[in-house]
């Protein structure tokens, strides 16, 4: 069909092999059974059973349509570009399973103007600031003294703690907050009244890294499993 110059023969064979290998890889790596090889890292604690599609929904249109739309957008022939391959993962994806009425720090609260400076320090308007996925851990926040960004002026009337909250804040012991208070407030447990009874930081760090839950396993709300999430979508 095509005449190939003998000098280009190896180049053509290489290209054909490349195309065939590419097609095989595309087929194999898009199978459900090979998801672990495509993932950029192991799933976080509690997410091990999730399939890719739970967060990475297919983008609208097929690949060729997406290429055309984005080229059109790049040359100014279309107002908006489109997602390529899969849709962006947003807070809404997380909330479909983790939305709880009792969340004491819901992400939407931090969109208010008065949290502007705090958000510059720690962007609490999005889950991934503290829960970066594919890290095989539970909490990925850089430093656990984040309470300092909003609670500098906290005073607790009839403070039950043996060392007052005011004194703790004055000493800038911001690492101690998390030893009594879980950030989202979903655990049912008795908050310690003595500093000596608080959860050791080492245990907190282990929990963040994916270990046992030091606040206990009695929670008011449980996150949806993948099956329950799919059922909720059908409803």
């Amino acid at each position: 069909m095509f005449k190939v110059s003998p000098l280009r023969k190896r180049q053509v064979i290489g290209s054909v092999i490349g195309v065939v290998l590419g097609a095989v890889m595309f087929y194999v790596l898009t199978l459900d059974s090979t998801e672990q090889y495509v993932s950029i890292g192991p799933m976080n604690t509690g997410h091990q059973e999730l399939s890719c599609f739970a967060c990475h929904a297919d983008a609208r249109g097929n690949l060729l349509q997406q290429i055309q739309s984005n080229i059109s957008h790049a040359v100014g022939a279309r107002e908006d570009g489109v997602d390529f391959g899969t849709q962006d993962v947003t807070v809404d994806n997380c909330l479909q399973c983790h939305d709880r009425a009792n969340d004491r720090h819901p992400t939407h609260r931090f969109k208010e103007p008065r949290f502007k400076d705090a958000v510059k320090e720690i962007n609490a308007t999005t889950c991934i600031t503290c829960h970066t996925e594919h890290q095989e851990e539970r909490v990925s926040v850089a430093s656990i003294d984040y309470c300092k960004n909003c609670h500098q002026e906290l005073e607790v009337e009839n403070d039950p703690l043996d060392i007052s909250h005011k004194a703790i804040i004055a000493k800038k012991d911001w690492f101690t907050c998390i030893q009594c208070h879980d950030f989202h407030g979903n655990h049912r447990y008795d908050v310690p009244e003595k500093m000596s009874d608080t959860i050791p930081l080492k245990q907190i760090q282990q929990y963040f890294d994916g270990g046992a839950d030091p606040y206990g396993d009695n929670k008011k709300y449980k996150a949806l499993s993948q099956e329950a999430w799919l059922e909720s979508l059908e409803k």
């Binding site: 095509f2 190939v4 110059s5 280009r8 983008a59 609208r60 249109g61 097929n62 060729l64 349509q65 997406q66 290429i67 055309q68 739309s69 080229i71 059109s72 279309r78 107002e79 908006d80 489109v82 909330l95 939305d99 009425a101 009792n102 819901p106 939407h108 609260r109 969109k111 208010e112 103007p113 008065r114 502007k116 400076d117 909003c150 609670h151 002026e153 906290l154 005073e155 607790v156 009337e157 009839n158 049912r188 008011k220």
Partner: protein
């Protein structure tokens, strides 16, 4: 070889173009006339909020307390059998709005808040001082967030507001009196003008938020273990141990607020 390359490029280009692009998402309101300025809409929804909160504060919390019903800031906790205080009621409405598709933000703040996290800072704190003096709303565009923002005075409209805030263990001010500007509601929306449909969507999002949080309160009552459960139906706490159903509550809100809102909507049509 050049021919082959050209041939491949042409084939690829034809394939891409012939596929067509992903259909562009046009909002439902595309092409419709923008009939309301954002300030006008936020003022409208804020008035609905005033009516709703006053009704909840006076007719549910105020009268309910006289019947022995309890209202608590920790009303969500398992060991607390109570309903939401008015500020928590508003936060519940705000949370519900955030979960919906309408990009409306609602927040409550003060210079003497019970919860320190609700203290105004920066521009909001400055504008709140003006609001305290003249009780007039303040509008501004938040450049960083790219959101049109409005602040409205939140008045001590019922005895329950004053007594609860003055007696609260964590209060930062103990001499509140009826009519005081206790705080301000802050509302945000991304567009500078709205179509009729978008305006109705904003009002509906607020109404849905009201129903959601009220329903959550009724659900909590369902789980009461030791406290007496009020009868839920068409009667109000002023008649005894009763609470209106969500439908009855929302109907009353609509009756009280709909005239003003309707006037705005009809005049624009």
């Amino acid at each position: 070889m050049k021919v082959i390359t050209t041939y491949i490029i042409i084939c690829f280009s034809v394939l891409i173009v012939s596929c067509g692009g992903v259909p562009e998402e046009k909002s439902e309101s595309a092409g419709e006339e923008k009939v309301f300025a954002v300030d006008e809409v936020l003022e409208m929804v804020s008035k609905e909020n005033d009516v709703t909160r006053t009704l909840y504060t006076k007719a549910i919390v105020g009268k309910g307390k006289l019947q022995g019903m309890k209202f608590d800031e920790d009303w969500r906790k398992d060991d607390v059998e109570a309903g939401p205080l008015p500020a928590l009621f508003l936060r519940g409405v705000a949370s519900s709005i955030r979960k919906g598709p309408v990009p409306l933000g609602l927040y409550l703040g003060s210079d003497f808040p019970v919860n320190a996290a609700n203290k105004f800072e920066g521009k909001q704190a400055d504008l709140f001082q003006k609001i305290k003096k003249d009780q007039k709303p303040e509008f501004f565009y938040d450049e960083e967030q790219k959101l049109h923002t409005a602040m409205f005075a939140d008045l001590a409209s019922a005895d329950a507001c004053v007594t609860c805030h003055n007696k609260h263990p964590q209060t930062t001010k103990t001499d509140w009196k009826l009519g005081d500007v206790m705080g301000a509601t802050t509302w945000q929306y991304p567009k500078d003008s709205l179509t009729y449909k978008e305006t109705v969507a904003v009002l509906n999002a607020y109404a849905k938020g009201t129903v959601d949080i009220y329903m959550a309160y009724l659900d909590e009552i369902e789980d009461f273990k030791t406290s007496e459960k009020p009868e839920i139906g068409d009667k109000w706490p002023e008649d005894g141990k009763y609470l209106p159903s969500a439908e009855v509550f929302l109907d009353s809100v609509k009756k009280l607020s709909s005239y003003e809102t309707m006037k705005h909507l009809i005049v624009s049509k």
